[in-house]
């Protein structure tokens, strides 16, 4: 099991320009935790989907909103949480809705995806990924 590490916290503009930064930071944490290869690619894609939805929520709210990211290790799992202060869960049919392509992608790539209303009316997504092939961190 990896050494316990404090969560990595980020606050970014809920905007398209933030996506590249978000996925690189989260991928860095994943690699530091012992992940490599295709599983890291899955993390990069899923994080981008979550942040793209946050940017869509902010856009729908008509504001230059922010999103918060938290990344931490929980046993053999890499956990990524993305929270926005946008309009909340979008209508079905909207690209950022729970039935949208972004969530379908997250569900396909993460071991587990939880979606809920955030504390301030926005949306919160929590995804977890297995660090090791057997669900445990190497070493």
């Amino acid at each position: 099991m990896p050494e316990p590490r404090p969560p990595v916290l980020m606050r970014l503009p809920a905007a398209p320009e933030s996506l590249s930064v978000a996925r690189q930071v989260v991928a860095g944490v994943a690699i530091a935790a012992g992940m490599d290869g295709e599983p890291v690619e899955d993390v990069r894609i899923a994080v981008t989907e979550a942040c793209a939805n946050a940017a869509r929520h902010a856009h729908a709210a008509g504001s230059a909103g922010e999103m918060e990211l938290a990344v931490w290790i929980d046993g053999g799992l890499l956990v990524v949480a993305v929270r926005d202060d946008g309009t909340g869960l979008a209508d079905p049919g909207d690209a950022a809705s729970p039935s949208g392509v972004g969530f379908v992608t997250m569900r396909a790539l993460a071991r587990r995806v939880e979606l809920r209303a955030g504390p301030d009316g926005g949306t919160e997504v929590v995804m977890s990924f297995e660090i090791g092939r057997d669900g445990r961190a190497p070493g």
């Binding site: 996506l19 590249s20 930064v21 996925r23 899955d42 990069r44 894609i45």
Partner: protein, 118 residues
């Protein structure tokens, strides 16, 4: 262009979209770097500007280092745009590994679009 270099908050998104090169029969668009929500509009503008009636269009994705579902939808839109502009064929050249291959197969884009391995 370094994917690992610092570029926050003012540096541009690491995406290079090259215009068509002279010569050959196909019009070409080459895209390098990371294609997500931030770069889709610029990519589709280039496709619109490059596609020619009566000529095939080749979209070179071999230098692409990241693709998400929004980028994948932009590839579909590019295919539609180019055909509507009269392109006789739209061929995507891509390497099958990494996030690009993952998104192409996850959404069956490699079956819907004419994707040829690099």
């Amino acid at each position: 262009m370094s994917r690992r270099g610092g570029r926050w908050p003012d540096d541009p998104v690491p995406l290079t979209i090259a215009p068509a090169e002279p010569g050959g029969t196909a019009a070409r668009v080459r895209i390098e770097g990371e294609l997500d929500m931030a770069g889709c509009d610029a990519f589709l503008r280039e496709v619109r500007a490059t596609a020619r009636p009566g000529r095939p269009l080749e979209i070179d994705l071999r230098g692409l280092t990241f693709l998400d579902s929004t980028g994948g939808r932009a590839l579909l839109a590019a295919d539609r745009l180019a055909r509507r502009a009269g392109a006789t064929a739209v061929v995507f050249r891509a390497r099958p590994e990494g996030s690009v291959g993952r998104v192409l197969s996850l959404f069956a884009l490699d079956r819907v679009l004419d994707v040829q391995a690099a």
